[in-house]
């Protein structure tokens, strides 16, 4: 991260630029759970001492803390990766009804191409689903600029605003102009039960407010410079957004463009007018057919769309020409080396034993997911955060006599494994849940979490006691062992616990090699 003093320009990533823009716009409170490609947003915000920032236990908590701060009257920001928003959907859907007091921005980083994710879901659909506006920048500079506008829209229209990023925007760096911070005083705390207590009587009234707000947001979308028309050569026009705009500008510098910076709600009149002004019209977007389906619904016959093969993966300079020509995707790439566990990674020893004992291993999200790759092949499911715990139970319900265990990381266990463990105890499930405790959130680069006893700024705080917690949940046996130093004992322990008809937690504790 750059030293910021005396600089008017800095070389910033989309995430760093967005953080800078939020800071300049008077942000006060920010929270997230780490997740590639969004992690650096909070890491950058933590460098500004005037901000109240935190790694939260999970995305739902992070959302609620920051949204609470916005309802309380200060500008706040929640950041997550696409699948992180799934965890926070519950508060988002109703935050849309209740609205805000001070600006509230939700930054969601999608991962087209799944560089580091379990699916390729497209957050743009959340706009119509939650009825909240979505902005999408095309560059780090725009990310910085858009976050200020997002706070203003949030306050003016009384709504959370989503900024949708993608890996390519989050992690691209460019020279970005720096500004200064505007401090904004907290608004007084108000008790407005009709606005913030979403019981049916009030929620019905708020739903009406939401529908009226939609109409106003459409007007904004029509006149906002976020949706920019660039008329050049009228023989070819593109409707596009995000990084796709950049790839197109590179190869079709003379074409005309309708660049959508506000993706939702759509600017129907602008789209219709633009389509009349160009001879050939082409819609270019990464992943799903979000713009395409809307343009089709508007009845714009001349519009051309991408071949279905382009719904998969990232666009890029190598493939954009084929897309525009209506051809299928034809990417010739020599295979890249896959990532693997670091040499000396503590997970190796655990997996060597699980493999030897030929167990069915329900896995979770973390570095240890790489234990599934051949030749190790010692992890057999990975769906979402926390499922290492609940899949031990679920798979056992199908095969009560099976040799089944679950593995989960320390950070992941705190994120969403605890409730699953309580459920297993309550419903009399058996088996072993391994907590692979490497004392960090390793896969995203090594962030603190409650059990490390340190905050996002490395300040000491109360450390969560994992063995005590598991005991308190009611687990029959809780063992803590460093398998790296005692592989034989570890194997004996696993065998012993498997033979008992009990629910056990084995905490395999050894720090990640990359911890500084």
């Amino acid at each position: 991260m750059a030293k910021k003093e005396n600089l008017t320009k800095a070389f910033l990533s989309g995430n760093e630029a967005l953080a800078r823009g939020a800071w300049e716009s008077g942000l006060k409170v920010a929270a997230a759970y780490p997740g590639t490609p969004s992690t650096e947003i909070l890491e950058s915000l933590a460098l500004y001492p005037e901000l109240d920032v935190q790694w939260s236990v999970n995305e739902k908590v992070a959302f609620e803390v920051t949204y609470g701060a916005a309802v309380g009257g200060v500008r706040s920001l929640f950041a997550c990766k696409h699948v992180g928003l799934n965890v926070a959907m519950d508060p988002l859907m109703t935050a849309s009804y209740a609205g805000v007091s001070a600006g509230f921005v939700v930054v969601v980083c999608d991962d087209p191409g799944m560089h580091s994710s379990q699916n390729e879901q497209d957050t743009r659909w959340v706009g119509p689903y939650a009825k909240v506006p979505i902005l999408e920048p095309s560059s780090p500079s725009e990310a910085k600029e858009f976050v200020g506008q997002a706070f203003e829209i949030s306050e003016k229209f009384d709504t959370p605003v989503i900024i949708r990023m993608t890996t390519r925007i989050s992690h691209t760096k460019e020279d970005v102009d720096l500004g200064t911070r505007t401090d904004i005083a907290a608004k007084p705390l108000v008790k407005d039960w009709e606005k913030y207590v979403m019981v049916p009587r009030n929620a019905r009234m708020r739903h009406e407010v939401v529908e009226k707000r939609q109409e106003k947001l459409v007007k904004l979308s029509e006149k906002s410079r976020l949706n920019k028309v660039e008329l050049k050569n009228p023989s070819l026009g593109f409707i596009t957004s995000g990084i796709s705009y950049m790839y197109l500008k590179e190869q079709f510098p003379d074409a005309s463009y309708l660049k959508l910076g506000m993706l939702y709600p759509f600017c129907d009149e602008k789209i219709k007018n633009f389509s009349k002004k160009v001879k050939k019209l082409c819609v270019v977007e990464e992943l799903d057919l979000f713009i395409e389906e809307h343009v089709k619904a508007l009845g714009i016959r001349k519009a051309k769309f991408k071949h279905p093969s382009f719904q998969l993966g990232e666009l890029g300079p190598a493939t954009i020409g084929d897309l525009v020509a209506g051809r299928p995707k034809n990417e010739k790439k020599l295979p890249a080396r896959p990532p693997r566990l670091c040499p000396g990674c503590p997970h190796w020893s655990v997996f060597s034993v699980l493999k030897k004992l030929d167990l069915f291993v329900a896995g979770d999200i973390g570095c240890y997911t790489l234990g599934s790759l051949p030749p190790t092949s010692a992890l057999h499911t990975c769906i979402c955060m926390g499922a290492g715990v609940t899949f031990n139970e679920g798979v056992r319900r199908a095969h009560p006599e099976g040799k089944i265990v679950g593995v989960v990381g320390d950070s992941t266990f705190v994120h969403s494994g605890i409730t699953g463990l309580i459920n297993a105890v309550y419903n009399k499930a058996k088996g072993i849940v391994f907590i692979l405790d490497n004392s960090t959130t390793a896969m995203t680069g090594g962030q603190n979490h409650p059990a490390t006893g340190k905050t996002i700024r490395n300040e000491a705080t109360k450390a969560l006691d994992l063995p005590a917690l598991c005991k308190a949940c009611g687990v029959d046996n809780v063992d803590v062992i460093d398998p790296a130093g005692a592989l034989k004992e570890f194997e004996e322990l696993v065998k012993k616990r498997l033979d008992e008809n009990t629910l056990s937690v084995i905490i395999a504790k050894h720090p990640c090699k990359l911890i500084k």
Binding site: M246, P317, R337
Partner: protein, 162 residues
């Protein structure tokens, strides 16, 4: 804004070799030299050992942050086995600096310096003033390691002059 010509550079190797840091150094140097610059990389998760490629483009006005196939003016390769894959980015008349990899490895004692030596090699080819490189190093390296990096950077430049 400076010269309109765009220069495209592709860096590549495997995780843990300091490739991102190398391209970061070039990015800041180009910024200090008054160019518009974009950098973007393609790599997997936090673990080491997977392929990493990083693209830097600078000039008047840059749109795409990625260098396309056969578009790189320079290729800086950190790992011989990755070379065939990376070569697809190089222009037909582009400059392949892979020949400097062994020489660079031979003149350093600390393998952590490989990235800075190779950026030194690259610097000998690029229209970026020395003072901009020096300022970039102040941002990218901590005070503790900046002097050793300045020294190996010069060694890298000298390799080209030999």
């Amino acid at each position: 804004m400076k010269k309109q010509t765009i220069i495209n550079i592709t860096f590549g190797g495997i995780g843990g070799q300091g490739i991102i840091k190398a391209s970061e150094l070039l990015g800041w140097a180009a910024l200090y030299d008054g160019y518009h610059v974009k950098k973007s990389e393609v790599h997997g998760m936090a673990q080491r050992g997977g392929s990493v490629e990083s693209h830097v483009r600078f000039g008047g006005k840059i749109y795409s942050p990625l260098v396309g196939p056969e578009q790189a003016d320079y290729l800086l390769c950190f790992h011989a086995e990755e070379h065939p894959r990376l070569k697809t980015f190089l222009k037909k008349d582009g400059v392949d600096l892979a020949g400097f990899l062994e020489k660079a490895q031979a003149i350093i004692e600390n393998p952590r310096h490989l990235n800075t030596v190779l950026v030194g090699v690259l610097a000998a080819y690029l229209p970026i003033r020395n003072e901009s490189w020096q300022k970039a190093m102040e941002v990218v390296f901590s005070p503790k390691i900046i002097e050793e990096n300045r020294t190996v950077f010069e060694k890298g430049k000298a390799l080209v002059r030999q």
